[in-house]
């Protein structure tokens, strides 16, 4: 039996305070109407289902438990997620999973620009397409895209893995296509399974860092001096 919180009659602070006070249990949030910061900062193994679309920073700083959004989400979905799971049935706008350190973010629809920007260990699985500059400066974790990726994928990427099944409009600076070795196939198969996505890992390509931006190059010395 889940506890229902209606955002038409309860304030956002009342909702989030109730979620933070609970150690366990199921919650349903109704009438979210695009509200910001819904279910942000969940720290225990509760399950939250949001019936409708949410605004900015839904499930931000997510630490434990599960958040399911039955709708769309705006900027910064699961921003800085540490662990646990966040899933949405619709699409997310920009900066989904930004700076996430761990856990799993599943977007069943499309994701907008800069999905997984500066991700630091989170795994993100997107059922549709991702927008431009996704995985920008991504440091660790995996971004899995079942659809297409827009321009400048993986710009200035560090050690994250990007798997794309569809087309890639263009790769960003220092991002290259890489070999799919058996361990990558296994990682991808696990992620697809965890995300409950029906796709064959063999259909994906892998992208990552060419590691050319890591070190100082003596050839750049003139530019370095000129910039001083």
């Amino acid at each position: 039996m889940s506890i229902v919180v209606d955002l038409e009659t309860s304030t956002l602070r009342e909702l989030n305070a109730a979620l933070h006070a609970a150690d366990s249990g199921d919650f349903s949030v109704v009438n979210p109407r695009g509200a910001h910061a819904v279910a942000a900062g969940i720290n225990t193994s509760i399950a939250v289902t949001v019936e409708g679309s949410v605004g900015y920073y839904c499930a931000g700083m997510h630490q434990a438990g599960r958040v399911l959004v039955q709708g769309n989400a705006s900027t910064g979905l699961a921003e800085n997620i540490m662990s646990g799971e966040v899933r949405i049935t619709g699409s997310a706008t920009m900066s989904a999973g930004a700076t996430g350190h761990g856990g799993l973010l599943v977007i069943e629809g499309n994701s907008g620009a800069r999905c997984g920007i500066s991700m630091k260990g989170v795994d993100i699985v997107v059922g549709g397409n991702v927008g431009h500059m996704s995985a920008f400066m991504a440091q660790a974790g995996s971004l899995v895209v079942l659809g297409d990726a827009a321009a400048d994928l993986g710009d200035s990427i560090y050690e994250a893995n990007v798997f794309v099944r569809g087309d890639v409009a263009s790769l960003g600076a220092d991002c290259i296509e890489k070999e799919m070795r058996p361990d990558h196939i296994a990682t991808l198969a696990n992620l697809l399974s965890a995300a409950a996505m029906d796709a064959d890992p063999a259909d994906f390509r892998r992208f990552g860092s060419a590691r050319q931006l890591y070190n100082f190059h003596v050839d750049d010395i003139d530019a370095e001096v000129a910039a001083r």
Partner: protein
């Protein structure tokens, strides 16, 4: 910050509620722009009839007398109705001449808009108050665009509020900031545009006016804007019979669109759209960067 809303009624179904629904959307965008607000509403107009919306911020003109003088000048009947410091002149006579006469001879007034379908209201203050002061909720028509402003680039004044007119039945609202507006303003002054403020959005509006005057379509004007305007922007442009959206190539400034069989709505945030009728069946998407979207009764 700043908040944008646009609502376009594809069918007759909700046209009688255009103002009411736009006011609901505007209310949701209050926090994004609490210092001023404005809105443009469009109906289908009457053939050959021009409406000119003017603002008298620094004076309290006798509008009847202004209309009588304008009537004598045009040799055609002029109707006028006023609401607070705004007045709308209507005539079947030469609309361009009416607009020019009000600019040159109106008693210290600013012409906010002109055209066959548009009326435009704006003011400093709480967006809800602006909406109620200028009776947004009772207005009917085909489409509206509105704006809540958080001033960053210039002072909080009525003239710095959006929408900015860009030509007959055309106006523009903006969320973001332009970084090359001073240089562009100089170029546009050389090409005959005039400016009332130091506001960056007024420069973008003047740029679009200039291109439209040079014969560009709205699509062509916006294609060029992508090259010549530098900065962060989401623009909503009210045009005759519809509206257009453009986001810069980086698209940091938010925008969301929802569409049903009866309406198209755009806003800075989904919460402005969340209360529209039948929204659960709407197709919701984020406009792509550098892509011009237009919705029009004509197309």
């Amino acid at each position: 910050m700043c908040g944008i809303v646009g609502l376009f009624m594809k069918t007759d179904r909700y046209r009688s509620r255009l103002g009411e629904l736009t006011a609901v959307m505007l209310h949701e965008m209050r926090e994004r722009g609490p210092d001023s607000a404005g809105f443009a509403v469009y109906d289908q107009g009457q053939p050959g009839r021009t409406r000119v919306t003017v603002l008298a911020e620094r004076s309290t003109p006798d509008w009847g007398q202004v209309a009588a003088s304008l009537e004598a000048q045009l040799g055609a009947a002029v109707a006028v109705r006023s609401i607070r410091d705004h007045a709308v002149f209507e005539t079947d006579g030469d609309g361009r001449a009416a607009r020019q006469w009000l600019i040159d001879h109106g008693p210290d007034v600013d012409v906010l808009s002109y055209g066959n379908q548009i009326e435009l209201y704006k003011s400093v203050g709480d967006p809800d108050l602006v909406a109620s002061n200028y009776d947004l909720a009772s207005r009917t028509g085909t489409h509206a665009i509105a704006h809540t402003r958080m001033a960053t680039e210039s002072a909080i004044t009525t003239n710095g509020s959006h929408p900015f007119v860009t030509g007959a039945d055309t106006c523009l609202v903006h969320n973001g900031s332009f970084s090359n507006h001073n240089q562009l303003r100089e170029r546009l002054v050389q090409r005959g545009e005039s400016f009332q403020t130091e506001n960056d959005t007024e420069v973008a509006a003047a740029y679009v006016s200039w291109r439209l005057r040079e014969g560009d379509t709205i699509d062509q004007a916006l294609q060029r804007a992508l090259v010549d305007l530098d900065g962060f922007y989401t623009l909503a442009i009210g045009i005759k019979s519809g509206f257009a959206i453009l986001r810069d190539p980086i698209s940091c400034k938010p925008a969301v669109v929802a569409e049903t069989d009866d309406w198209v709505a755009m806003s800075s945030e989904y919460r402005a759209i969340a209360q529209l009728p039948d929204v659960v069946h709407a197709e919701v998407f984020e406009p792509e960067p550098s892509r011009i979207y237009t919705w029009s009764l004509a197309s």
